[in-house]
C-alpha cells in the first residue's frame, strides 16, 4: 500500500490543502481526548492563519493504540504520538508554519535514543500488509466520498454490471478466503450453499445476509476497529455477498459495548442509501438490498451463529442443533449467510484485485492476511494485519517490539476463551488455521495476548473458565456443569489445595466436555485448560506439589516482602498501602506485616526500585 499517494484535495470543498493532519479518532485515542486535540489544533491553525492550508481529518483507528492520541502528517508521513494539549501550539508553529518537524513528539522505540520521524519507517507499520484495514488512518470514516476516492464501491459496480452471481462466488472460492470469525470455513463454499438453498415456500422466498459484529472474545478488537475506520468496506462486502447469494435483506449484529462503531455504521448506511448504493434498484440493475443494525445486549454466546439468529428474532439466545445449517434454515426459517466483519471487509479487495492476487498471499491452505489484536505484556499494543504464515516471532518482536521492562516472554494466548496458549519454544511457528490447531490452539477472531514471566498459567486457565462458566447459556449439561467442575478444581489448585490426580481428572473431564457439548462454546471451553496443561504441566505441578506460584499471581500462594538491599526507604509503599501494613522509617528499609497484608499488589505497583518481591 502506498501511503504517499493521497491526493491533497478535500472531497467536500474541492479546496487544495498543503497538508492533511490525520488525527486518529478510534476509541482508544478518543478516550485519550483526541477530539479535544482537534479543537486545540484548529484554534492554533487559525491563530497562525493556516486554516486554508492545513486540514485536520479525524480518521478511524490507526492501529497503534498504545501511543494515543496519534497523528500522521500527510503527505510526508510524519508520525506524532501521545499528543497533549500543551504540545499543540509549539507543534503548529514549528512544523506546520516553519516546516521543522518536532522530534520531541515522535516515536522512539524502547531502548533506543533516536526517534523515528516517519510512519512507514516504524517497524510496527512497515512490516504489516493491509487488506481488510486498507483504509485505516487514510480516510474520514464518516465521509463516503473519501471511501469512494480510494476505489470504494468500485468492486460493487464491477460485480453488479459485469459479473453473474455464480461468477462472484467462483471468484471468492478461487481466492481461498476462509471465514475470519475463527472456524475458517471457506467463504465461497458457504455462499454457494446458501445460493443453492431452496426457499422455504413460494411466498416466503427471501434470503438473509448477516454480518457478525458481536465480537465477544475478550482481548480482540479488530472488528470494532475495522468498523470504526472503514464502515463502508464492510457494507460493500455485504452488498456484493447479497448479490452473489440472492439475498435482499441484511442485518449487522453489533455489540452494545461499541457505541462509536455503531454510530459510524448508522451514518455509513444512511450515506450509502442517499447515494443509491443501498435500497431499491442499486445501480439501475434491479437489485434490491437493505441493511438493518441489531444491537446486542452483552451475551458472549450470541457470537454463535444459531444463537445470534435467535437473539435477532427475540428468542432466548441459545444455540441449537445443526443441521439444519443456517444456509438451509436460518433467520425466521429462511436461508441465511453469516460472515464475520473482517471477512466482509476483505471481499471488495478480492473482487478489485482478483482471486489470483489474493491467493498468492499466505500459506497453502490459509490465504490472504489476518488482523490480530496484539495486546497484553507487549511494547507496541495495537492492531496488526499480516500475511498468513507470518511467524509469531516476527509478530511479537519485529512488529510488537518485544516485551516491556526487560521481562521474559512466556507464552501467547490466541483464540480467546476457545483457544490456547503457545509457549516460547514455538515462537517460530508460522500462523495459519492448521498450524494453530496442531499446537492445541485456534485462530479464533484474532486476539493475541502476550504473556510474560509475571503471568501464571493456572490463573490464565482459571480466568477463561470463569468467563465461559459465566457465559454458558446453560442448555447443555456438559458445558453448564462441566465448566463449574473444572473451575472448582482450578480454584482448588490456585488456592494451594491441589492434590495428586487433579491434573489427570482435569484432562479426563475436559475431553468429556469437548465430546458432549452442542455448540462451539462448550466444545472449546476446555481448550485453555488442556493447552496450558500440555505446554505448562510443570507449572501446575509446582502449584500442587510445592504449593508455589512461580509467577507470583495466585494470592493464596504468595507473600510480599521488601528486598532490604533495594529499598531506599522512600515511604511510597507505606503511604499507598490501604491496610497500613507497611512500616519503616524514612531512608531505612521497610517491612510488611504479613497479618495485615491483603496482597492487593499496590506496593509492587508503586515501588520505583523493584524492591517489593513476591514469593
Amino acid at each position: 500500500m502506498n501511503n504517499q499517494n493521497i491526493q491533497p484535495i478535500n472531497e467536500q470543498t474541492g479546496k487544495h490543502y498543503r497538508m492533511h493532519l490525520m488525527l486518529c479518532a478510534g476509541t482508544g485515542c478518543v478516550s485519550n481526548k483526541s477530539f479535544k486535540i482537534k479543537e486545540v489544533l484548529e484554534k492554533e491553525l487559525k491563530k497562525q492563519n493556516l486554516q486554508d492550508e492545513v486540514l485536520v481529518v479525524m480518521t478511524g483507528c490507526n492501529g497503534f493504540c498504545a501511543l494515543g492520541p496519534v497523528m500522521v502528517v500527510k503527505p510526508d508521513g510524519f508520525f506524532y504520538q501521545q499528543l497533549q494539549e500543551d504540545d499543540i501550539p509549539h507543534l503548529v508553529e514549528e512544523h506546520f508554519l516553519k516546516g521543522r518537524p518536532v522530534k520531541k513528539l515522535m516515536y522512539t522505540p524502547p531502548e533506543e535514543k533516536e526517534p523515528i520521524p516517519k510512519m512507514m519507517e516504524i517497524g510496527f507499520f512497515a512490516r504489516q500488509r493491509l487488506i481488510a484495514l486498507k483504509n485505516r488512518g487514510l480516510i474520514d470514516p464518516e465521509n463516503i466520498d473519501e471511501y469512494i476516492a480510494r476505489d470504494g464501491y468500485k468492486a460493487l459496480a464491477k460485480v453488479l454490471t459485469k459479473m453473474a452471481p455464480l461468477e462472484v462466488i467462483e471468484e471468492v472460492k478461487k481466492s481461498g478466503l476462509r471465514g475470519r470469525g475463527g472456524a475458517g470455513f471457506p467463504t465461497g463454499l458457504k455462499w454457494e450453499l446458501c445460493r443453492k438453498a431452496k426457499p422455504k415456500s413460494k411466498k416466503q422466498n427471501t434470503k438473509y445476509i448477516i454480518c457478525n459484529a458481536d465480537e465477544g472474545d475478550p482481548g480482540a478488537f479488530m472488528d470494532r476497529s475495522i468498523i470504526e475506520s472503514d464502515p463502508h468496506g464492510v457494507l460493500e462486502g455485504m452488498i456484493i455477498g447479497a448479490y452473489a447469494i440472492g439475498a435482499n435483506n441484511g442485518y449487522i449484529y453489533i455489540r452494545a459495548e461499541y457505541p462509536l462503531a455503531m454510530e459510524r455504521l448508522e451514518l455509513a448506511i444512511k450515506q450509502a442509501e442517499d447515494y443509491g448504493l443501498l435500497g431499491e434498484n442499486i445501480f439501475d440493475t434491479g437489485f434490491n438490498f437493505d441493511i438493518k443494525i441489531q444491537k446486542g445486549a452483552g451475551a458472549f454466546v450470541c457470537g454463535e451463529e444459531t444463537s445470534l439468529m435467535a437473539s435477532i428474532e427475540g428468542r432466548p439466545p441459545e444455540p441449537r442443533q445443526r443441521p439444519p445449517f443456517p444456509a438451509q434454515s436460518g433467520l425466521w426459517g429462511m436461508p441465511t449467510n453469516i460472515n464475520n466483519v473482517e471477512t466482509w471487509a476483505t471481499v471488495p479487495s478480492i473482487i478489485n484485485r482478483g482471486a489470483e492476487w489474493f491467493a498468492s498471499i499466505g500459506t497453502e491452505k490459509s490465504k490472504g492476511t489476518k488482523v490480530f489484536s496484539l495486546v497484553g505484556k507487549i511494547n507496541n499494543t495495537g492492531l496488526v494485519e499480516v500475511p498468513m504464515g507470518t511467524t509469531l516471532r516476527e509478530i511479537i518482536y519485529d512488529i510488537g517490539g518485544g516485551i516491556p521492562d526487560g521481562k521474559e516472554f512466556k507464552a501467547v494466548q490466541t483464540g480467546g476463551p476457545s483457544g490456547g496458549c503457545i509457549p516460547k519454544e514455538m515462537l517460530d511457528l508460522p500462523i495459519d488455521y492448521e498450524r494453530l490447531a496442531e499446537v492445541g490452539s485456534i485462530m479464533g477472531s484474532g486476539g493475541m495476548i502476550v504473556l510474560d514471566e509475571d503471568s501464571c498459567m493456572v490463573d490464565i486457565a482459571k480466568y477463561f473458565l470463569q468467563f465461559t462458566n459465566d457465559e454458558s447459556c446453560g442448555k447443555c449439561n456438559s458445558c453448564r456443569e462441566g465448566s463449574e467442575a473444572l473451575l472448582e478444581i482450578l480454584d482448588k489448585i490456585s488456592n494451594g489445595k491441589g492434590e495428586e490426580g487433579d491434573i489427570e481428572f482435569l484432562e479426563e473431564l475436559g475431553q468429556a466436555i469437548k465430546d458432549a457439548s452442542l455448540c462451539g462454546l462448550g466444545q472449546t471451553l476446555p481448550n485453555p485448560v488442556l493447552s496450558t496443561l500440555r505446554h505448562f504441566r510443570d507449572e501446575y505441578e509446582q502449584h500442587i506439589k510445592h504449593k508455589k506460584c512461580p509467577a507470583g499471581v495466585c494470592k493464596a500462594l504468595v507473600q510480599y516482602f521488601v528486598d532490604e538491599e533495594k529499598c531506599t526507604g522512600c515511604m511510597l509503599c507505606a503511604k499507598n498501602c490501604p491496610q497500613d501494613a507497611i512500616t519503616g522509617k524514612r531512608k531505612e528499609p521497610h517491612t510488611i506485616d504479613q497479618d495485615k497484608c491483603i496482597k492487593c499488589n499496590m506496593c509492587y505497583e508503586v515501588c520505583k526500585f523493584n524492591a517489593i518481591q513476591r514469593k
Binding site: S31, G219, E257, A297, L518, C600
Partner: protein, 316 residues
C-alpha cells in the same frame, strides 16, 4: 447462579464406595429378582434390559402411571428425537412382558439385606377403584366434576405505573409496533431511559407486546446489559477482558471496592455509584480500562482510583 449442589469430593467418595463393594458382591449368593425404583424412561429401559436377560423385575413407581417426565416432552435434547416415539414401544413392551410386574402408587418403606440379596417393603397407596373389575373405559374420568372445572382467566393485576412512566413506555413501544423481533430492542430502550428495567414496566411491556412475562424475564436476566436493580448515577464498568486481566484489572476491581465499600454488581447507598465488571470493551491497547458512564479511563492503576472517584464525588 448455576450451582449444581454437588461436590467433587462427594463424587469421588461414591466412586470409591462402589469399587470397594463390588468385590463383596461378587462373593455373595444372588437372588433371581430385581427391583427398579422409578418408572421414568431410565427405569423403564433398565427393567426391560433386566427382564430380557431373564430376571424377574418389579418396577415401582410413586405416580399412578409409569412414563415420568419424558412423556410430557415434545422433543429431546440433543438429537431432537420425538419423545413419544422413543417411549411408546417401551411402554407397550413393559405392559406385555411376562417378567415385569408394575407396582404403581407405591413408595419404598424399607430395604434390608445386601446388594444381591435383599428384601424391600413397599407401601401401596389406595386407588379407590376395584382393580379387578375396572376395564379402563375412561367414562368416570370424563364425568368427574372435580377434574372438569371450567377454566377461568385469572384476574389481571392492576398496573401501578404512573402517567409519566406510561407515557414514556408507550413512546418506546410505538416505535416497534408491528415489527418482528422487537423485544430485545424495546428492553434496550427502556434500559437506556431508566438505566435499569423496573418490574412494573416489564409487566406492561409483556402485556402490550403479547409476550409471556416469563419470556420477558428470561431475556432480561440472560443479557449482561440489563439490570433489574436500580443503578447509581455513575455506572462504573471495569473491563475484565484478557488483556486487562493480565495487566491488573482484578486489582482495580478490588481498589474500587475498597474506595466505594461495595462489591461488583452493587450500588452505593447514596445511589451515586454502581460497580459492574464487563468482558472486554475492545480498548485492549489501553489496558487496564474502566468506563464511568461514557467516559473511558485507560492505563488505570490502583493509585489513580481514589483520584478518579473523587472527581465524580465532587460533581454530585
Amino acid at each position: 447462579m448455576r450451582n449444581a449442589g454437588y461436590s467433587m469430593e462427594k463424587i469421588k467418595k461414591q466412586r470409591e464406595n462402589i469399587m470397594n463393594h463390588e468385590s463383596d458382591i461378587m462373593n455373595q449368593k444372588k437372588v433371581g429378582a430385581a427391583m427398579v425404583v422409578g418408572g421414568g424412561i431410565g427405569g423403564m429401559q433398565a427393567a426391560l434390559d433386566l427382564a430380557e436377560s431373564g430376571i424377574k423385575v418389579y418396577l415401582v413407581e410413586t405416580k399412578p402411571c409409569i412414563g415420568g417426565v419424558m412423556s410430557q416432552l415434545d422433543k429431546t435434547f440433543p438429537t431432537n428425537d420425538c419423545a413419544m416415539c422413543t417411549m411408546a414401544p417401551r411402554l407397550v413392551e413393559i405392559g406385555r412382558h411376562k417378567d415385569i410386574e408394575i407396582i404403581t402408587l407405591a413408595d419404598v418403606e424399607d430395604i434390608e439385606g445386601q446388594p444381591g440379596n435383599f428384601t424391600v417393603t413397599l407401601k401401596k397407596r389406595p386407588r379407590y377403584v376395584d382393580e379387578e373389575k375396572c376395564t379402563g373405559c375412561a367414562l368416570c374420568v370424563n364425568n368427574c366434576p372435580v377434574r372438569n372445572i371450567i377454566y377461568t382467566e385469572p384476574e389481571k393485576e392492576e398496573l401501578k405505573l404512573s402517567d409519566e412512566d406510561l407515557q414514556r413506555v408507550r413512546v418506546i413501544i410505538n416505535n416497534y409496533k408491528n415489527k418482528k423481533g422487537t423485544l430485545v430492542p424495546v428492553l434496550q430502550d427502556i434500559s437506556s431511559q431508566y438505566r435499569y428495567l423496573p418490574a412494573e414496566v416489564l409487566r406492561y411491556v409483556a402485556d402490550e407486546l403479547g409476550y409471556p412475562l416469563s419470556q420477558v424475564y428470561r431475556l432480561a436476566t440472560f443479557y449482561n446489559a440489563f439490570s433489574l436493580e436500580p443503578r447509581g448515577k455513575y455506572l462504573i464498568s471495569i473491563c475484565l477482558g484478557t488483556a486487562c486481566h493480565v495487566k491488573g484489572g482484578p486489582s482495580i476491581v478490588e481498589a474500587l471496592g475498597r474506595e466505594l465499600g461495595i462489591k461488583p454488581g452493587e450500588t452505593t447507598e447514596d445511589m451515586n455509584f454502581t460497580l459492574e465488571t464487563v468482558r472486554c470493551i475492545g480498548c485492549c491497547g489501553l489496558s487496564p480500562v474502566m468506563k464511568i458512564n461514557e467516559d473511558l479511563y485507560g492505563k488505570v492503576t490502583q493509585k489513580k482510583v481514589p483520584g478518579i472517584i473523587n472527581e465524580y464525588r465532587t460533581k454530585t
